[in-house]
């Protein structure tokens, strides 16, 4: 490919192609799109990428990504300090915050328990979570890991590591029917889970 294409273009395509979810075709499209944009556009993009690396750090309490340490959520006096919601990724916080229905704190594990990808217990921020809960103020830990095989194993692991703290309630997000959906069109699996997690009327 590089023999037919100027070196800088090939380099850019390669760089894009290494990003998650971007195949060779999309990488090409991105490179040629940027080539046609004004210089200012390219500068803005490269500045954004550099700042991402320079200005973002992990909150030392909840491990959310933030410009400040502690992060905005941890520093906010209005939040409920007795409840912690455990998530796999910082993006999960964004989703939960959009609901505006959770007023507690978070804890980001930075991944899920996935030995095939080389992610084991020590690669997740589980020890830090246990220390946080050990410290005393927390009454409920809500495990909001994904509804995947790995998310389920992660939830099992978190539950086990908190078991010695009998005063702390450990809960898991419920799984069931999407709101506004027709039962007829729900997939079997979701419907089964909804049946198993049914609630009293």
């Amino acid at each position: 490919m590089s023999a037919l294409m100027a070196e800088p273009i090939a380099t850019a395509i390669e760089a894009f192609g290494r990003m998650p979810g971007i195949g060779p075709k999309t990488a090409q499209r991105l490179a040629f799109y940027l080539l046609r944009q004004p210089r200012s556009e390219a500068e803005a993009l490269s500045r954004a990428v550099i700042e991402l690396k320079d200005l973002i750090r992990e909150c030392s309490t909840c491990f959310n990504l933030s410009e400040t340490d502690p992060c905005g959520i941890c520093a906010n006096d209005g939040r409920d300090r007795t409840a912690v919601c455990v998530v796999e990724e910082p993006l999960d916080i964004v989703a939960l915050e959009k609901t505006a229905s959770f007023k507690g704190l978070y804890h980001v594990l930075h991944g899920s328990f996935s030995p095939m990808e080389g992610v084991l217990e020590d690669d997740l921020r589980i020890r830090e979570l246990v220390q946080r809960v050990d410290a005393g103020a927390i009454e409920e830990v809500i495990v909001a890991t994904n509804a995947t095989v790995e998310g389920e194993a992660t939830a099992n692991l978190v539950r086990a590591r908190l078991r010695h703290l009998s005063a702390v309630r450990v809960t898991r997000l419920a799984q069931g029917l999407p709101i506004g959906s027709d039962i007829e069109y729900a997939d079997d699996y979701t419907l089964t889970r909804a049946l198993q997690n049914r609630t009293r009327l």
């Binding site: 195949g23 060779p24 030995p115 095989v149 194993a153 992660t154 099992n156 079997d188 699996y189 049946l195």
Partner: protein, 414 residues
């Protein structure tokens, strides 16, 4: 239940085919290589989203398909209880831009085989997950290669149970897929623990929890299916009176309960409060605990549904090892007939029979029996290299089509 119409586009040797299928039996005959098995395969694909053969999905795309990305499309219309459902399975090349250097050398320069494909399922015009296809069209497939069901490896027999259950219970497919994922993860962890003795093995517990609950659901469903299949096997004991009755047993390194015939009614895994599954789970949990040391040394999961098998006996003789080739073939046919019976029992409708080239292999008694089975089904598609392998009476009652050069010629029964 039946297929009223089948449309193929660039599916194997068919660049295009439109075929209406009537109620009752259709006899398709043609020379070796005419495309009979390909046609049967396309119908099976609509029922199960997979091929009855172990070949790769990409092989389904017509080597001469001129489009890029290359694709194979199978569309079928299924009529069931007065309702028509349109099912479509599209197998398409993933990225046409991948360099042709990745391809295996092909015998014909005009031949094109994509490196990787993806599968898309469309039901009544709406894209769906592949698993959602199951249950719309129930089919039972039989061909001479199916002797491997008895003569082949344990994997072959597990697949038989899994495909039967998948067609009856979509929840089963999900459970199976998740279990396989858990196995991959658990084995990766076992390898990691072997290579890093300092790491705490307590991490295994959390995969065991998952493996036990998913594994138990699979084993319980299989054990129930085996019990019901034996009831259906008993119904055909009389076909060849001289032959010993065929029965099956679920075989496992774990001592699972084995309900005797008919004890355990068929229930879908969706049912809650399943005591059999609970019993199986506790035995599986014990087995995991007992095997822990051995598993850590072997760095592989040694117990669970992925290691189990099915014993197929004629009387007391295990046909897997001691059956003659012909006995193994008739035992395999018996299993398939029982599978059809179970499907009818559970869904209330006879499945479509897809019988590829089976007549030439059978003795006259069994041929007559297969013809009577076809007569009982709403629909049967049967193939052969010549129409003469079917009895004149059967041909009289069937639509007969001759396949030549990948197109059909309606024929008078010959």
């Amino acid at each position: 239940m039946r297929v009223t119409h089948l449309a193929l586009t660039h599916f194997r040797s068919f660049s295009r085919l439109d075929l209406s299928l009537p109620i009752g039996s259709t006899v398709i005959w043609g020379d070796n290589g005419a495309g009979k098995s390909n046609l049967i395969e396309s119908l099976y694909l609509l029922a199960t989203s997979r091929s009855p053969y172990t070949s790769a999905e990409r092989e389904m795309i017509d080597w001469h398909c001129p489009h890029r990305p290359a694709f194979a499309r199978v569309i079928g219309r299924v009529l069931r209880e007065g309702r028509v459902t349109s099912l479509e399975v599209l197998t398409a090349e993933t990225d046409a831009s991948t360099s042709p250097a990745d391809f295996e050398p092909s015998p014909d320069p005009g031949m094109y085989r994509p490196a990787t494909v993806r599968r898309k399922v469309v039901i009544n015009g709406t894209p769906r997950q592949t698993g959602e296809l199951l249950g719309h069209l129930n089919a039972v497939h039989f061909s001479p290669e199916e002797v491997e069901l008895v003569a082949g490896s344990a994997e072959r027999r597990r697949r038989f149970l899994d495909i039967t259950l998948s067609q009856l219970d979509r929840q089963y497919v999900r459970t199976l897929r998740q279990y396989q994922r858990v196995l991959v993860q658990r084995n990766a962890l076992l390898r990691h623990l072997r290579d890093n003795p300092a790491v705490s093995p307590s991490q295994l517990d959390h995969w065991d929890t998952e493996a036990v609950s998913l594994g138990a659901a699979i084993v319980a469903a299989r054990i129930r299916a085996v019990a019901r299949l034996n009831v259906h096997l008993a119904l055909i004991d009389g076909i060849a009176p001289a032959a010993a009755p065929i029965r099956i047993t679920y075989v496992s390194g774990v001592n699972f309960p084995n309900p005797s015939e008919g004890d355990a009614p068929f229930v879908r895994t969706i049912d809650v409060g399943d005591t059999l599954a609970e019993d199986v789970a506790s035995r599986l949990r014990d087995a995991f605990a007992r095997q822990r040391t051995r598993e850590r040394a072997a760095a592989i999961t040694l117990v669970g549904p992925h290691r189990d098998d099915l014993a197929v006996c004629a009387g007391v003789i295990d046909q897997r090892t001691y059956g003659s080739r012909g006995q193994q073939r008739t035992a395999a046919l018996a299993l398939k007939i029982a599978e059809a019976g179970l499907m009818r029992e559970v869904t209330g409708e006879p499945p479509v029979l897809l019988l590829d080239d089976v007549m030439s292999e059978l003795d006259p008694t069994r041929r007559a029996f297969v013809e009577s089975l076809c007569a009982d089904a709403d629909q049967a598609i049967v193939t052969g290299t010549e129409a003469a392998v079917f009895s004149p009476a059967f041909r009289e009652r069937s639509q007969t089509l001759r396949l030549e050069g990948a197109t059909f010629h309606p024929t008078a029964s010959r």
